[in-house]
């Protein structure tokens, strides 16, 4: 049985994206030392997703951690090396990650009506529709039963 959950939140960076969810319960940033620029691999010590590749995924995490270079490293992964995630869902998208997501042209959403960390499971299919910054965004979660 397929189960669908629809959440609404606020867009911090606009765009549409769809992909498999990766849920990381720890704070994590996008700097080259947390997620490799050359391969999209999570390296942050203690991260649930350590060793996994973020490329093309919808990455779900509480908020950022670490270096301000997360902004341009996220942009680089999305636009230059093409190892970036497809979209971001946070409890709160930090300013640093907003900066990176806008430049990387991927949607970033927060303030959802349910906690994304507990509602979304790794492996769920997630679609983000975030038409305008600062406005309502929709997150549709599809789980195979």
């Amino acid at each position: 049985m397929e189960k669908k959950i629809v959440l609404t939140g606020i867009a911090r960076s606009k765009g549409k994206a769809a992909g498999e969810a990766m849920v990381n319960r720890q704070r994590i940033g996008w700097a080259f030392n947390h997620v490799g620029n050359e391969d999209g691999m999570v390296m942050a010590p203690g991260a649930d997703m350590k060793g996994k590749i973020v490329t093309g995924k919808i990455f779900v995490y509480p908020t950022t951690a670490g270096s301000t270079s997360g902004a341009f490293s996220l942009y680089y992964k999305c636009k230059v090396s093409h190892h970036g995630p497809a979209g971001l869902i946070c409890q709160e998208v930090h300013f640093i990650d907003i900066n990176g997501a806008i430049a990387g042209e991927i949607p970033a959403v927060d303030k959802l009506d349910q906690d994304p960390i507990t509602t979304i499971k790794t492996g769920d299919w997630v679609e983000i529709d975030a038409p305008e910054v600062g406005e309502k965004a929709t997150v549709t979660i599809t789980r195979k039963g």
Partner: protein, 496 residues
């Protein structure tokens, strides 16, 4: 106009293109960000601190791209459109000074990296483990990026600490520092206002001199949320740069990513101490602000630290010596936690992340004077340009070099691709920031005080100072003699 942002006449003119293509391009980007963070006006900046790019032609050529993916932090392509504009110049005419963090290598020694690995950052050989050498094309790209920035009016800081000696913002002024430790120092000790600036913004705001007002520019994002009190034992027994880093980390952990007011600090913390305490900010907490009571100029009282919104019973935590010891154990990536019986071989000992202050350089020189760094082990001290030449002038450099160590400016180990160092490299440092930054990469890390680190460089083996045995035990079992026991002087590690 794209955002509901109130602009000054000049800012509007920049947006309208009256002051050139580069300013218009950058204003446009800043307004996009301003809209996302709901800013209603811009602040006027006195300082912008970012990171020098690698400037190469055709960065998407597959072989070059593969190298860039290793070396580029991700910022370099952002400069390409600006470098292609004829009129681009930073906004220094109004007093916005712009500079950069340390980067890949020391530029005036860039010629030396063409030879064999010679133990100089960041070309080195580790006996039995292999060698590392910087890619020459990438070094040339860094030099080209640096030259281009100089043309554009950026200043040659290449330092994480321009706030010490080069551009010192004063209370109430605004800055844009992507260097987290600098941001935290500027807010906490100088009383000027900066975010840990998202590092794409810092490219654009250099050319406009302004930035949307948001985050730590505003009182509500600067207010303390929790009180941390040090025990008298902590206040009286923090000694050495790593202690300050571990204390900062312990404070940050207690506060759980919230801004804290810290009580019962020692009366005299020098520049190295405050720098190391505060550099917990990037790895330990997201907001670059601590209210260090007795130091932070905007917080003469707790009420002021809470920005007039102190609850009746604010959350309050105590930091004890046990917390500091625990942090030492946590920071030593090599398990089990070190004690004299767990002595560990080291390959590289380095000081200066963030860049070493002169008091730190002098301490390394004092500790290493008349001794010799063990063959095959590297001792590196990295500092800013003013301190580098001070150390040369006053003889500290000679002392360190006579012992077989090296001192550098303009560069930082963190900016070389550490992920590609030889397998099994062991790096010992007194930098909390770097153990955390580098924690995801291959090398193993040892965290210790300068005394133990210099001893490790000389013997090739790290042993912590005995005082951690003392502080690790319940106090009634502590022996006063453990505070005094000398460091292990042997040649071979007692365990592997």
């Amino acid at each position: 106009m794209k955002a509901k942002m109130k602009l000054t006449t000049y800012q509007q003119e920049m947006l309208d293109g009256k002051h050139g293509e580069a300013k218009q391009f950058c204003m446009d980007k800043l307004l996009d960000f301003g809209k996302a963070v709901e800013a209603t006006e811009m602040v006027d900046l006195v300082l912008t601190l970012n990171c020098c790019p690698i400037y190469v032609k055709d960065r998407l050529e597959p072989k070059r791209l593969a190298k860039l993916n290793e070396y580029d932090l991700g910022h370099s392509p952002l400069y390409d459109p600006i470098f292609a504009m004829k009129d681009a110049h930073v906004h220094d005419e109004s007093g916005t000074e712009c500079g950069n963090d340390p980067y890949m290598c020391q530029l005036d020694k860039a010629g030396e990296i063409k030879g064999q690995p010679n133990g100089k950052p960041w070309n080195f050989e580790l006996p039995g483990k292999g060698s590392f050498r910087l890619d020459e094309e990438m070094v040339a790209g860094f030099k080209a990026g640096y030259d281009k920035l100089m043309e554009h009016g950026w200043l040659p800081w290449l330092s994480c600490n321009p706030y010490f000696n080069t551009r010192i913002p004063k209370m109430g002024e605004y800055a844009a520092s992507s260097e987290s430790s600098a941001a935290c120092y500027i807010n906490t000790i100088l009383g000027a206002r900066t975010n840990r600036e998202a590092a794409i913004n810092t490219v654009y705001c250099a050319y406009t001199g302004c930035l949307p007002k948001y985050g730590t520019h505003l009182d509500e994002y600067r207010a303390a949320k929790v009180i941390i009190e040090l025990t008298d034992e902590v206040r009286d027994n923090i000694k050495g740069m790593a202690d300050w880093g571990a204390l900062g980390a312990a404070i940050a952990e207690k506060a759980g990513n919230r801004i804290m007011a810290v009580l019962n600090l020692p009366k005299k913390m020098g520049p190295g101490a405050t720098k190391n305490l505060i550099s917990c900010a990037s790895p330990g907490m997201n907001d670059p602000m601590l209210h260090l009571m007795g130091y932070t100029p905007e917080s003469p009282t707790l009420e002021a630290a809470f920005k007039g919104k102190m609850p009746k019973n604010p959350e309050r935590y105590t930091v004890t010596m046990d917390d500091v010891v625990e942090m030492y154990h946590h920071l030593n990536a090599i398990e089990p936690a070190p004690g004299p019986e767990k002595a560990k071989p080291v390959d590289i000992v380095f000081f200066g992340c963030p860049h070493a202050t002169w008091d730190e350089v002098r301490e390394v020189a004092r500790l290493v004077k008349g001794k010799k760094v063990k063959k095959g082990v590297h001792l590196w001290v990295q500092t800013d340009t003013p301190t580098y030449f001070m150390a040369q002038h006053y003889g500290d450099t000679k002392t360190i070099e006579d012992a077989g160590g090296h001192i550098f400016h303009q560069t930082c180990i963190a900016m070389s691709p550490i992920r590609h160092y030889p397998k099994g490299t062991v790096i010992a440092t007194d930098s909390f920031k770097y153990v955390k930054l580098g924690g995801g990469f291959g090398p193993k890390w040892i965290y210790g005080n300068p005394e133990a680190l210099v001893n490790a460089a000389i013997t090739g083996v790290f042993t912590p100072t005995a005082r951690w045995d003392y502080w690790s035990k319940p106090r009634e079992k502590c022996l006063a003699s453990e505070k005094e026991r000398p460091l292990y002087q042997g040649e071979k590690p007692m365990v592997d």
